[in-house]
Amino acid sequence: MSTSVKDASIPTIPFKARFSRWFGRNLLRIYMVFGFTYLFIPVAYTFAFSFNDAGKSNLIWKGFTLGNWQNPCGAPQICNALGNSIKIGALATLFSTILGTMIAFAIGRYKFKGRSTSNLLIFLPMATPEIVLGASLLSLFLVFKINPGFWPTVIAHVMFCVSFVVVTVKARIASLDPRLEQAAMDLYANERETFKRVTLPLVAPGIAGAALLAFSLSFDDFIITNFNSGTLITFPKFVYVAAARGIPAQANVIGSSMFFLALAIVIAGQLVHRRRSR
């Protein structure tokens, strides 16, 4: 009924009023288009310039080439840096996910003395600027005469990833329906079985999300890494150093590949999740 009223009223309303009504209705959609365009401009730029036939300094468009994609390790040191970042990211993800998930279960599942202090200890690293985290950790390593490098960087990354893992997994635990576990117990599963076959599978997507977050935080970190890695080159460090004299197009290739890879993982995760929940 409402549509027929609207249709009938269209010819009598002048264009300007019709436009402003359309605009009012679609304001949020228009806004979304602008918002996402803004978010993706530099990503599109990075992708486009990965095909630039620019040699060492990728500043001005010089012509299309697939060469950079065929030879992503073409720039000196770049694949070494990428390898270090992946190794550090994998180790930091592994340790921070284990430690963080344990803490999340303790805080999310039990009432105990010191629970609010525990929450504070988890919040504090997130409330501390990265530069303070990086600088303070470096000072500690210097006191104990530990040279900055690979393992100090892994430790630094685990330290700042743990809180993010705790928060992510805790949110998932909080959203669980307690009746599912009660049902398992009613069906004579003991605590261990209930945990293994009901609780853990239900929390698993949260843990996977936390691990992905930890990896992307670690892989992309520059400030803390810069303090604790010494002469070790990671991918963000490579980009930062190269920025002074022009970044090789291979860096754009690697940045774009990471983007598509992460997107594929997230979408695959969503699809698996959707199929399971059907």
Binding site: R29, Y31, V43, V132, L140
Partner: protein, 286 residues
């Protein structure tokens, strides 16, 4: 229970490894930083050698020498937070209420730019807005911009860069709290003759407040300590406190000043955050 642990101990056992780690590599370094911050150079020693003299004047000197950079950090971070909130709120609102079954896809799209290294994206902005990009020459030809005005190397570019880089940190908590709003509360408001704007102002915004608090904190804190945007997009005139700490550490090896500055920054942020949380009246942080 099949294993014999007393149940009370379970949470502590779960906490122990993680907290032992955080104690060693977060609490201890911060304590050590406090210790370093009151040291002074050893007379006649090499550069980088310091002794503890409880020189609390380090704080005063560090602060007075870098007042400008401190002020700039807080102004830039506040501006970036306000802009990010203004951009992210409608975006999160549209995703939560107007995107139907595409909700998850839009959510992934918000996070997706994250995965291209943030340094690459910041440098991409520098090149897009720089002298060789197409934006500046176009605006100059249209006489919107003066022939010698630039976008990069200005405060505008630094604030814009920070706004951009921290946008997902703002959008995600906002989305999470908006998505949790029971649509019936909004219908109820309409039933009570509130129009769209009143409903938004009196129902939606208050209910999304935890997200606003979490988002502003997750944006403001890293923005206040950031130095990467200022060093890529800015000039010596846009140096922030992060740039000073970085150069004190690496270029001047003046650890006590760097430590005093770090501590002052941390304290200032913690005080602001506490006041802000009190004011916003929410305990739910993240």
């Amino acid at each position: 229970m099949s294993f014999t642990l007393p149940k009370v101990r379970v949470p502590y056992l779960l906490l122990f490894p993680g907290f032992a780690f955080l104690f060693t590599f977060f609490i201890l370094p911060i304590a050590n930083l406090a210790q370093t911050s009151t040291q002074t150079p050893i007379p006649g020693g090499d550069t980088g050698q310091y002794q503890q003299t409880f020189a609390f004047s380090n704080y005063l000197n560090a602060f007075l020498d870098n007042r400008e950079q401190f002020a700039r950090s807080f102004i830039y971070a506040t501006l970036a937070t306000v802009f990010a909130l203004a951009i992210a709120y409608p975006l999160a609102y549209a995703i939560a209420f107007k995107s139907g079954k595409f909700k998850n896809i839009f959510l992934v799209l918000v996070v997706a730019p994250f995965f291209t290294s943030f340094l690459l994206r910041t440098i991409a902005w520098k090149q897009i807005l720089g002298e060789e990009g197409f934006v500046v020459p176009t605006l100059r030809n249209l006489h919107v911009m003066g022939q010698s005005t630039t976008i990069t190397s200005t405060a505008v570019a630094v604030v814009a860069g920070m706004t951009y880089n921290f946008l997902p940190f703002m959008t995600l908590p906002l989305y999470a709290s908006l998505e949790r709003i029971d649509p019936r509360t909004i219908e109820a408001s309409g039933d009570l003759y509130a129009n769209g704007i009143t409903t938004f102002r009196r129902v939606t915004v208050p209910l999304s407040l935890p997200g606003v608090v979490a988002g502003t904190l997750l944006t403001f804190i890293p923005a206040a300590g950031d130095y990467v945007n200022a060093s890529i997009l800015g000039s010596p005139n846009t140096k922030m406190i992060g740039n000073v700490i970085e150069s004190r550490y690496f270029k001047i090896v003046d650890y006590p000043t760097a430590a005093a500055l770090s501590f002052t920054l941390m304290a200032a942020i913690l005080i602001l955050v506490t006041l802000y949380i009190r004011k916003a009246g929410t305990e739910e942080l993240v």
